[in-house]
Symmetry: C2
């Protein structure tokens, strides 16, 4: 079981550990082995989340390799693959907490951030799941999912965990929220664009995969708000069709472009990133401020 | 999400909280609100485990009601039901730990017991899953699953958690292991018999459900060791057949009885229970000793 989790951890961008580590340094903490352990625990937590997420979505691939439940299914069949992946996710979830406690940095403030982070991710995923079966799909509800799943879970809460383990005061936490919330939205919007237009060799997923999965993103919701009846009809018929071929992907992409949804989302990414960068002021220690600015630009930039 | 988990918690025998509470009192602890909170956290943990277990097994019912993933599927379809149940299990898993920490009783010894308990349950379930897809199914391997899933997880570790939160020494922990390991085996064997011969109105599951699921229990493994070739062939053909009807159940039951496997398992239950009771000596405080003896008899007695 440990080997399977270990192999799985060799991919990934370590975004959450990065934000936790730099959140710690930005709040006056030092670069110690303890904060590295605490930050790494977030990567275990994320591994647990995506192992389960791939089971829920029935995803075949992750990080350019077969999803864990698929790897396990190849050994002993589908039922084993699903069951074993659920158990491995559970175990990894427990280990993440064990590791964080083991860092010795989990003071009561940090514990509160961690507990909130866990509950909010699960609530965010639950909302996402509800969204995917309900037909409303407004821009507002897609932004709400992005707020919980991306902004809070990926950026704000890792920063807050790093900050509270350094004993940060309220001003630092506020600066991190002002930076992380708009950045998280920008980050998710970039991800939504990549899920539809991204190069499979970069994303590690087949072209147009999010369209086949029927993800109710801000991008799709924006397009629907601006669609002609014929365009809206096309989206409702083809979005989420597991059999969607290259022509179908091209047709849906065309709707997203011609309605102006892509431009609108690019504008929102730019303004949100700008808002995030503006929050990086003297409340945050110098070196961390520079790194956080660079991370913001890297995570939201257009692929060239 | 909280309502769904709350409803789900209204069934159940509260065995693990019971062992934790009496383990605490038997080790010299007092009946305080804190130990009640710590013990109750184990019921949340168990809820998480069975919510996921029912998804893995594709079980339709739990405690005489539809399984949680089935209740959720009735609202928004199968995919939502599975995904939401995985998320609710994850959330409940996190909450169990949050509640235990919140009790204020989780000293380093108790933390070690809790972490071991979680990892061992998941390893036990993984073994069980491997067992169900591999064809060996020996008495020895079935006993190994029973040791992790039942003896350690259901009895020994809850007792140890209760004991360590009371600051117990090594002698009490040893007494609890000597009591809990054989009792857990006895308890699992009784459960195996009920899964095949139990009254649906008592078990809350359809008659012969374990046969339909193809569980590789000690009972089945014992029968296979003692089978004629014709009987073994019958077991291999019908065990785990989801379409098994009342006649099929009766045929398999007949093999379990005529091979002497049922008698053998009843003998093992009796001797294991006796061994468990013998460990209840002066190392354990009086009142708890009496309750633990009563629990042992109640959890292993033959239904009348």
């Amino acid at each position: 079981m440990a080997d399977a989790v270990g192999d799985f951890l060799t991919g990934g961008k370590r975004l959450r550990p990065g934000f936790c580590f730099w959140g710690h340094l930005g709040a006056g903490g030092s670069d110690t082995p303890e904060i590295v352990v605490a930050a790494a625990a977030l990567e275990l937590f994320q591994a647990a989340a995506i192992i389960h997420d791939d089971v829920m979505d029935g995803s075949d691939t992750r990080r350019g390799k077969p999803a864990l439940h698929k790897q396990l299914a190849a050994e002993h069949g589908e039922r084993f693959g699903t069951g074993a992946a659920i158990l491995l996710g559970d175990l990894t979830l427990c280990w993440s907490e064990e590791m964080l406690v083991g860092s010795g940095l989990l003071n009561p403030d940090a514990r509160e951030v961690f507990d909130t982070m866990r509950a909010e991710l699960m609530a965010g995923q639950y909302l996402d799941l509800l969204e995917s079966v309900s037909s409303n799909g407004t821009v507002e509800s897609a932004l709400r999912v992005a707020r919980y799943k991306s902004a809070k879970y990926t950026i704000v809460e890792p920063l807050h965990l790093g900050a509270t383990t350094a004993g940060a005061g309220r001003d630092v936490l506020e600066a991190y929220s002002s930076y992380g919330l708009p950045l998280g939205i920008a980050f998710q919007l970039r991800d939504d664009l990549l899920g539809v237009f991204g190069d499979p060799s970069v994303t590690g997923k087949p072209a147009g995969d999010d369209l086949r999965e029927g993800k109710r993103t801000v991008l799709v919701a924006t397009a629907l708000e601006r669609s002609t009846p014929a365009q809206a009809d096309l989206v409702h018929r083809r979005l989420g069709d597991p059999e969607l071929d290259a022509d179908g992907v091209a047709e849906l992409r065309d709707v997203l472009v011609t309605t102006g949804a892509v431009d609108e989302v690019e504008k929102l990414i730019a303004s949100s990133t700008e808002e995030a960068l503006a929050a990086l002021d003297e409340r945050i220690a110098d070196e961390a401020r520079d790194v956080l600015a660079a991370l913001a630009l890297e995570a939201t930039r257009r692929e060239t």
